[in-house]
């Protein structure tokens, strides 16, 4: 069974994907590695993968199909629709606002006239990639205008679980935030890396993320302070917080090679191995492999 590493960060844009991609690349030198992109709202690990998807699974979601002949306009479905996605146009019909629908199917269950049938829309995709970069990838992607991020995260993790027996390491990239989806990803991992930055926003979100981490029990946790050289930031306060909670950290300086690797869709430690940021990522990688073994 693969050792699972989850890369999380309360705040967006702190460098989760940068680390996830580079750690997957680095770990692939030590064993067979799978990258899991569970940032289903914006799965941007795709921009770093040199491959076309080798397989694809469509995730579907329920939508009510109102059979107008049978509908008596009683309004029961409308009253029972929590997200207010059904509207009763008196004397005419019941209308669905698909973008607001959460696909729970309650309307179909409560309709006294069996006037609602099943239909299904595409809610997302799960794609598998076999790259020539040393690691494989499973990428979950929510379809825009649907809103079931936590379900897509879960489905992506479950899909990856079926493959994970073939691997020594798995690295999960996650969406920003501190909600239930992040909790699921953290619960799934052997080691959690919390990526932050030395800004007041980064610190505030790390504090919130740590509260979520505490709910997951006694998982191993490492912190990465990305963009550590930012002038005018709150690095001291951040370090004091990490000391207080007893979490070890690795600093990753900001340098131009990071932006370049993003712009090119290249892997930092492969493309710019001597850059200060790449050297720091390699130190993190060492620490990760020690912790996981």
């Amino acid at each position: 069974m693969a050792k699972i590493l989850a890369v999380v960060g309360g705040k967006g844009g702190t460098g989760k994907t940068l680390l996830a991609i580079n750690l997957a690349y680095g770990l692939s030198k030590l064993g067979k590695t799978l990258l899991i992109d569970a940032d289903v709202d914006n799965p941007c690990s795709k921009t770093f993968l040199r491959a076309e998807p080798s397989s694809r699974e469509v995730v579907r979601e329920f939508r009510p199909k109102i059979i107008e002949d049978r509908c008596r306009l009683c309004g029961t479905c409308v009253q029972n629709c929590h997200p207010h996605a059904l509207l009763l146009i008196p004397g005419k019909r019941v209308m669905l606002v698909s973008e607001l629908c959460e696909g729970c199917g309650v309307c179909r269950l409560v309709c006294p006239f069996k006037a609602i049938e099943d239909s299904w829309i595409e809610a997302g995709l799960i794609e598998e990639y076999r790259t020539d970069q040393g690691f494989d990838a499973v990428v979950g992607e929510l379809k825009p205008t649907t809103r079931r991020t936590p379900v897509m995260i879960l489905k992506t993790l479950r899909y990856a679980e079926k493959r994970i027996g073939e691997y020594d390491y798995a690295v999960a990239d996650s969406p920003p935030g501190t909600g239930s989806g992040i909790y699921a990803i953290m619960s799934y991992a052997d080691l959690i890396i919390a990526v932050t930055e030395p800004t007041r926003l980064g610190l505030s979100d790390l504090e919130k993320l740590y509260k979520l981490y505490e709910k997951t029990g006694s998982k191993k946790l490492l912190a990465a302070i990305n963009k550590s050289g930012l002038r005018g930031g709150v690095k001291k306060e951040l370090e004091e917080f990490l000391k207080k909670i007893g979490v070890e950290w690795i600093e990753i300086p900001y340098d131009e090679s990071v932006v370049r690797s993003y712009a090119e869709g290249s892997i930092l430690i492969e493309r710019y191995p001597r850059s200060p940021a790449a050297e720091a990522v390699k130190r993190l990688l060492e620490r990760v492999s020690e912790t996981l073994s």
């Binding site: 705040k11 914006n42 239930s180 979100d205 932006v259």
Partner: protein
């Protein structure tokens, strides 16, 4: 008028832009209420200069978790079939609720012939109304960690902001939305009139912007573009407006002054309006007034 700030990708500068915009509209057009709709990582209060006074704080509850009375459950598993969220597992021929995945929709309760399922209210998050040190009124949503219904907290925060704006006679509501395109973002965008998409010059941000614009299209928002940190890759920056088909409100350079303004909790539009970031922001906002047709009447 409700103006939402979104990006698809995290860390492109939504909170930075939204906080300065709220202050600008407050001063220039006579009033704005700010809404922190990034309820999983709420930072707008910091960016607005910090909290001066908490006017109210309340819990947001929602009927959200199913629970099974095993004394009554016969193991018919109708609930398992009805659940659209994979939130019911089967263990020893009985259903078990997986709490993290339960949406609390009640489908299982409806189909249970033994009335063995109850939907219990759970705490989803918190809502505070604050006055910031810069004098802005803001409604802050804050999700209980590990919480699920982010959209509901955002919806509640916006409703609160509308009431507040009416009471205080403020014409604008500025919504700092979450990264991504999911439930909280849909709740931020639905009903807003104007969307400002903040993009930085990397492909990952362009991808995020495309995705959020698909959502905006479904809700028919008027959308405008702000290029943030544009000088990190000017060539790429110039391609973005064409790729997204959006009008550009302005270009903001990369400058660590932004980090410093957070550290000092002193918004740039107040602390250094004449500096290079301050001037770039002002240009963005003046263009928004012109292109978006904003006036003292909203």
């Amino acid at each position: 008028m409700e103006i939402a700030v979104a990006s698809g990708k995290g860390g492109t500068g939504k909170t930075f832009l939204a906080s300065n915009l709220a202050i600008f509209l407050e001063r220039k057009l006579g009033g704005a209420v700010a809404v922190d709709a990034d309820v999983e990582a709420p930072d707008l209060a910091i960016a607005l200069g910090g909290v001066d006074e908490v006017l109210s704080r309340r819990e947001v509850w929602e009927s959200a978790k199913a629970s099974i009375d095993y004394g009554r459950c016969t193991g018919c598993l109708k609930c398992y079939d009805a659940c659209m969220f994979d939130a019911i597992a089967i263990e020893k021929a009985k259903p078990r609720i997986i709490e993290e995945y339960c949406e609390g929709c009640g489908a299982c309760r409806i189909v249970c012939p033994e009335k063995a399922i109850e939907i219990r209210e759970t705490l989803t998050g918190y809502l505070s109304v604050i006055k910031t040190i810069g004098g802005i009124y803001a409604v802050m949503g804050d999700l209980e960690v590990g919480g699920r219904n982010t959209g509901h907290v955002v919806y509640t925060a916006r409703e609160e902001a509308k009431k507040l704006a009416e009471k205080l006679e403020k014409n604008f509501i500025v919504i700092d939305s979450a990264p991504g395109i999911g439930c909280p973002v849909v709740s931020s965008l639905s009903g807003a009139e104007v969307l400002i998409v903040v993009v930085e010059p990397i492909p990952q941000s362009l991808q995020g912007a495309r995705r959020v614009l698909e959502v905006a299209k479904a809700f028919r928002l008027r959308s405008y573009l702000v290029l943030n940190k544009y000088d990190l890759n000017e060539g790429f920056s110039e391609r973005i407006p064409g790729e997204l088909g959006l009008e550009v409100l302005g270009r903001i350079p990369y400058d660590e002054e932004v980090v410093e303004s957070y550290t000092m909790m002193n918004p740039i539009i107040l602390s250094n309006p004449g500096g290079r970031i301050g001037r770039a922001l002002e240009e963005v906002f003046e263009n928004l007034i012109e292109l978006g047709g904003l006036s003292r009447h909203g």
